[in-house]
């Protein structure tokens, strides 16, 4: 306590403080200045202008990711899921065919039936490169016999979405691709353990899932038939570090041997 008091008085500390203050004043950008204005004088319009574009963009994404309950009641679960994926810009595959349907320049009436029909089952849904979010899954969730799901390059897909999938399709899903979604973390990958019938899982380029390799080992232990692609149990970094360790140990051994001579 005594020492701190002495230091408090010395000029060096005070100079540093003043410098810090100067620096903080210099680095104030325009947006921060506006924010400061907003805080001090309450110009709420300025803040609104700053966030206007961002909010409009997000609202348009949220508008697509709603639960369309009336459509579900009109079309039935599988047909609704198929039309929803096509409208989102994804692809879908029907039961018994290997062709992936997608909405090009055609109208949706030419590809899918517009009224409820029986014996219509969707087997595969490909939502890669779409803006699918957690809430949008409620349109797909009701499919009874979905086997293939692809979520490649989805920027807004997160752990909540993954946990929802793993419980909704826990009995049927066989193929899942979640490559290159940066919002997936370890906590989301851990819920995949509930997918009992999973046969192939692709998870490449998940930069935020730090223990992907370890979780893939756990999944392989727990699920019987699963093959996991994209998670090398020993990554190149790990191999390098092991190599370096071995080299260091060798050097030390040599030194000991030489000193003994």
């Amino acid at each position: 306590m005594h020492l701190t008091r002495i230091l408090f008085k010395t000029r060096s500390v005070r100079n540093e403080l003043i410098e810090m203050q100067k620096n903080s004043q210099k680095s104030m950008s325009i947006s921060e200045f506006l924010l400061w204005l907003y805080k001090e004088r309450n110009f709420s319009i300025l803040d609104g202008l700053r966030n206007f574009r961002k909010k409009r963009y997000q609202n348009s994404i949220d508008a697509v990711n709603k639960f369309f309950e009336s459509d579900l009641n009109k079309l039935g679960p599988d047909l609704h899921a198929a039309t929803y994926t096509l409208k989102m810009g994804g692809k879908c595959r029907l039961h018994g065919s290997s062709k992936w349907l997608f909405l090009g320049n055609e109208k949706i009436e030419n590809i899918l039936p517009s009224q409820r029909i029986e014996d219509f089952y969707v087997e595969g849904i490909d939502l890669s490169k779409t803006v699918i979010k957690y809430d949008g899954i409620s349109n797909i969730e009701t499919c009874s016999s979905l086997k293939t799901l692809v979520f490649k390059d989805c920027p807004f897909a997160d752990d909540w979405l993954l946990s929802r999938i793993s419980h909704a399709f826990s009995d049927t899903l066989e193929y899942l691709d979640i490559s290159n979604c940066q919002n997936f973390t370890d906590n989301g990958l851990l819920t995949l353990g509930y997918l009992r019938n999973l046969k192939l899982l692709k998870m490449e380029k998940l930069n935020n899932a730090k223990n992907k390799e370890y979780i893939s080992i756990l999944l392989e232990e727990n699920l019987e038939n699963v093959v996991i692609e994209g998670a090398n149990h020993l990554s190149s970094d790990a191999l390098k570090s092991i190599e370096q360790k071995l080299i260091v140990e060798e050097m030390e051994l040599r030194k000991i041997i030489e000193s003994n001579k």
């Binding site: 020492l3 701190t4 002495i6 230091l7 408090f8 008085k9 010395t10 000029r11 500390v13 540093e16 403080l17 947006s31 921060e32 924010l35 805080k39 309450n42 709420s44 997000q58 957690y134 752990d159 909540w160 993954l162 946990s163 929802r164 419980h167 973390t185 370890d186 906590n187 989301g188 851990l190 819920t191 353990g193 509930y194 223990n211 370890y214 979780i215 756990l218 999944l219 232990e221 727990n222």
Partner: protein, 451 residues
């Protein structure tokens, strides 16, 4: 630098500061200096909303008030901003919807919705790296023959509120969670979505950062007393209003702060705060132990926060076979010794370990690694939240007595209180039933627990 230019004042230095070995120590002292300089902030003389207690509930009240109307001044008084005795910091951080009262279920669903969009809600300007690391493993209740009927009834209520819960019988339980020994389990309830757990410290700091970013003042201090403005008119109208709070700012000053609304978010010490305003509040601090153990062959995948019908709970911590456990007991059996440093290790050996090994056979060779204890606010009337205005002191608002559910309900509590301050009525969730009037009338509303 020449010797002659240095005055006598500048020559005072830390002994041994020139020695490069001590450079780190000197640097530490300097850092401390900067921090203490930052901490000495002007204490506001008057504020619209005064919040007592800077834990998760107090921070959430500040956040929601500032979020909905940034014009209001909000001040939070926190005893110690390192939170050594805070019940938020030492809690387990569980989130669940499996309650029997509709208000509690609604509050949990609101909390889950907040968590879903937490990145959007809690980002501060350019810094949007808010990852709260919510664990989605869910919540599992195991009921014996006695409590199975109650579990079923609760399940019906939860389904009516669109909670994502599923009942499992003995065989389904065995199939889904291979690591559980199902002896003595009649029925299980598995919350598979919106349920799980979180790191409570990360959560608190994120909310607190956002609240300060929005302009809340956090003041280090201790509340000493209230002063009410007594005049004839007020006594005639029977509306006693508290006007100023006396705050000891821990550096030898006692500062009066004028306020319009005061919120009691003092957690376990809520009764002491209420007593300063001559209000009797049936809330007291209780202590609960949490033990951390290591089990070599323990399960990692598909391990929800499991609560046995005896009250023992387990929660996985990280991916390297560490687990937290503890025991939920009825209030009378808990220890009366409120010293946090005193930890009862026999309690673990006698009461928890046998149940754990019986329930999960792979915990056979478990090793106790660590243990700690934390307070929670225990409502002696009905173990439920007390929220809302005091009938006489109209500007005194309670948020007390959550009895261990405070963290998961905090987002909803904060929202409700902010609505009470700004609109004078509840808008999103109606919490009138949880008001202080039930304490006056002594008519408890009890949550029917399965455990």
């Amino acid at each position: 630098m020449k010797e002659s230019n240095i005055g006598p004042f500048e020559r005072i230095r830390v002994p041994g500061a020139d020695d490069p070995k001590n450079a780190l120590e000197v640097f530490k002292i300097q850092c401390e200096n900067f921090r203490s300089l930052k901490k000495i902030k002007r204490v506001p003389k008057q504020t619209e909303v005064l919040i007592i207690g800077g834990g998760i509930i107090g921070s959430f009240v500040a956040y929601w008030v500032k979020n909905t109307s940034p014009y209001l001044n909000v001040t939070v008084i926190e005893k110690d901003s390192n939170y050594p005795k805070s019940s938020t910091f030492w809690s387990l951080g569980g989130f669940r919807q499996q309650f029997s009262l509709s208000e509690n279920i609604k509050m949990s669903l609101f909390g889950a919705d907040f968590m879903k969009n937490a990145k959007e809600y809690l980002k501060c300007g350019k810094n949007d790296n808010v990852d709260l690391e919510f664990n989605h493993d869910g919540y599992l209740f195991l009921a014996s023959k006695k409590s199975a009927d109650q579990l079923y009834n609760n399940h019906k209520i939860q389904l009516a509120h669109d909670a994502k819960v599923r009942l499992l019988n003995k065989d389904e339980l065995k199939e889904k969670f291979k690591w559980i020994n199902t002896d003595g389990v009649e029925l299980a309830s598995f919350g598979y979505q919106n349920e799980g757990w979180i790191d409570p410290r990360k959560y608190l700091l994120a909310v607190r950062n956002k609240a300060t970013y929005l302009g809340t003042d956090y003041v280090n201090g201790n509340l000493i007393g209230f002063e009410s403005d007594i005049n004839d008119q007020a006594i005639l109208n029977k509306q006693l209003t508290l006007k100023t709070a006396l705050v000891d700012t821990l550096d030898g000053k006692i500062v009066p702060i004028k306020f319009q609304k005061v919120i009691n978010a003092a957690g376990p010490w809520a009764a002491e705060v209420a007593k300063l305003a001559d209000i009797q509040l049936p809330v007291e601090p209780r202590k609960r132990y949490i033990y951390m153990f290591y089990a070599k062959d323990g399960p990692i995948l598909n391990v929800p926060l499991t609560i046995d019908h005896s009250g023992v709970f387990i929660r996985r911590q990280g991916l390297s076979n560490y687990y937290f456990c503890g025991l939920n007991q009825s209030g009378d059996k808990e220890s009366k010794n409120l010293d946090l440093d005193h930890i009862d290790y026999d309690y673990f050996e006698k009461e928890i370990k046998p149940v754990l090994i019986k329930r999960v056979p792979s915990f056979k060779d478990m090793k106790l690694v660590n243990a700690w204890s934390g307070y929670y606010e225990y409502n002696t009337l009905d173990q439920n939240l007390i929220i809302g205005r005091h009938p006489v002191h109209q500007n005194f608002i309670f948020t007390n007595g959550s009895s261990g559910h405070g963290l998961q309900h905090s987002a909803a509590i904060g929202k409700a209180v902010s609505e009470l301050i700004i609109h004078d009525a509840y808008k999103t969730i109606d919490l009138k039933r949880f008001g202080f009037e039930r304490v006056v009338r002594e008519s408890p509303i009890k949550e029917i627990e399965v455990v």
